[in-house]
């Protein structure tokens, strides 16, 4: 299971990228690979996990290194171009648009592919019936769990091959976290790869095929999820828990 990436061909390859946030050197030669699988990046706060996702989607382009998406270097492309190449992004803290309704969120980012199994706003509403009930409501007036579903839904309708999930469980009730996990499983069934940044180890445990550990802007450890998460020593060493 953990080498499914190799089996299915590599989708995304991050090679030794160096990114800065203002003047501080956040990513210092970070590398990872994502195939047709769910990969979790774990690490303590401030290690650069969010910056990694921002670098991939182009919001914080790396100053050095390469990011290869399906054989193409996407460093230097603008965020919307990268998104249109098939990478969906669910930012930390959801970041919905307060002046858009639920429906407008989905219509805005919906990208037609013509495939029969494509994600349409209607299909998202099927997946999240509670959103359908609130389709006219402003995104800011949803509960935390609903917001997270909408954030995932709006990434989903771009019909991505890979979704970047930044701390989807943050601040959610256990029920909502369960919902997020179930949703991600659903995505995997639809052959959407997932790159997950998490602090909540059990979410990673439930979802990830492989894990990377980030320390100080660098991926210092890589293994199958089970191998890492079931080893308390490793967990203590890298995550302090």
């Amino acid at each position: 299971m953990h080498n499914s990436g190799e089996k299915n061909g590599v989708l995304l390859e991050v090679e030794e990228i160096h990114s800065y946030y203002g003047d501080s050197h956040v990513l210092q030669g970070c590398s990872l690979r994502v195939g047709q699988e769910c990969v979790a990046v774990l690490g303590r706060n401030g290690m650069g996990k969010t910056t990694l996702l921002r670098s991939i989607i182009g919001l914080n382009p790396p100053r050095m290194g390469r990011i290869i998406w399906k054989g193409q270097d996407i460093v230097g492309k603008k965020p919307f171009e990268i998104a249109q190449l098939g990478i969906g992004y669910v930012p930390q803290g959801r970041r919905l648009f307060p002046s858009l309704s639920v429906e407008e969120h989905l219509n805005l980012t919906y990208r037609r592919t013509g495939r029969p199994d494509e994600w349409t706003p209607a299909r998202v509403f099927e997946l999240f019936p509670e959103l359908a009930e609130r389709r006219r409501l402003s995104g800011a007036r949803l509960s935390g769990g609903e917001q997270q579903m909408l954030a995932i839904g709006r990434a989903l309708v771009t019909n991505p091959e890979l979704i970047l999930l930044d701390e989807p469980s943050e601040g959610l009730s256990p029920v909502a976290v369960e919902r997020v996990i179930a949703t991600c499983r659903e995505l995997r069934k639809n052959r959407i790869a997932i790159l997950l940044v998490e602090q909540n180890i059990h979410v990673a445990h439930d979802l990830a095929d492989r894990v990377y550990i980030m320390v100080n802007g660098n991926t210092v450890y890589e293994s199958s999820a089970a191998e890492f998460l079931d080893n308390p020593e490793l967990r203590y060493k890298y995550l302090g828990v």
């Binding site: 800011a140 959610l172 059990h202 302090g240 828990v241």
Partner: protein, 255 residues
């Protein structure tokens, strides 16, 4: 290690809540920190720790509840008033004056509560007492060699030290540290932890930290937060033994 219950409280939070949009970040949290205690606030991301900090310092207004600082109700006091009462904090992301020197940064913090901001004509360098205090603080946080360096040219570790120094320079009675060691290299972290450990004991410390090592090393007592509420409170040993904490914080309940 534990402070006696008869001692006065540095900070008393009584059922404080705060929500953003549809998300309730802090739900009716109550928390008492006696004078002189070193308290750590831990919990998973999004547990509401930083929001609670912002509510306590006054940067965010509380939706409800009551906050007392050294026995005075500060719920409706401004950030400035709270600062003048001896409340100082550091930020998760350094909030420094990037184009000023370390000395200037420290001086600004040192003179903050001295009502000097409208002294118009005397050069700040001539305020001897403040100057000496700045040197003292610089020494405490290991920045003596960098007094004249411009902050934006300092390394991240030194900036975190300065962040701590800024709070120290305010001569706080209650010092709130928001992930002081975030993003530091192991050596830098060691330096910073020892700096914090060597802070005068009379300063009450409230600390947000993820790193258990640091927490166990520094804290007298630990409060665990999860999803905006207080989950548990106790000595480090108690917290370590608490299964619920284990479950939530380590996320093993779903295993």
């Amino acid at each position: 290690m534990m402070t006696g219950p008869d001692q006065k409280l540095a900070l008393s939070i009584q059922s404080v809540s705060k929500s953003f949009g549809g998300v309730q970040a802090v739900r009716s949290v109550s928390l008492d920190v006696p004078v002189g205690e070193r308290r750590a606030l831990i919990g998973p991301n999004g547990a509401g720790k930083t929001t609670l900090f912002n509510v306590v310092t006054g940067e965010l207004p509380a939706d409800g509840g009551r906050i007392e600082l050294f026995g005075v109700d500060i719920t409706h006091k401004s950030v400035q008033e709270r600062a003048k009462m001896g409340l100082a904090r550091t930020y998760q992301i350094s909030q420094l004056f990037l184009h000023l020197t370390v000395e200037q940064n420290l001086f600004l913090a040192a003179s903050a509560n001295r009502n000097m901001e409208f002294h118009l004509l005397r050069p700040w360098r001539r305020y001897r007492a403040e100057q000496e205090w700045v040197f003292q603080v610089a020494e405490q946080v290991g920045l003596t060699d960098y007094l004249h360096a411009v902050v934006s040219e300092l390394s991240h570790g030194l900036q975190r030290q300065l962040e701590l120094g800024m709070a120290m320079a305010m001569r706080p009675r209650l010092l709130m540290l928001d992930e002081p060691a975030a993003g530091l290299s192991p050596t830098e972290r060691t330096t910073l932890i020892s700096l914090i450990r060597n802070l005068p004991r009379e300063i009450t410390l409230l600390l947000i930290e993820h790193n258990m090592e640091i927490v166990l090393d520094l804290a007298d007592r630990i409060t665990v937060m999860n999803r905006g509420t207080v989950l548990a409170e106790g000595t480090p040993a108690e917290i370590r033994a608490n299964e619920e904490v284990q479950r939530v914080y380590l996320g093993s309940s779903y295993a």
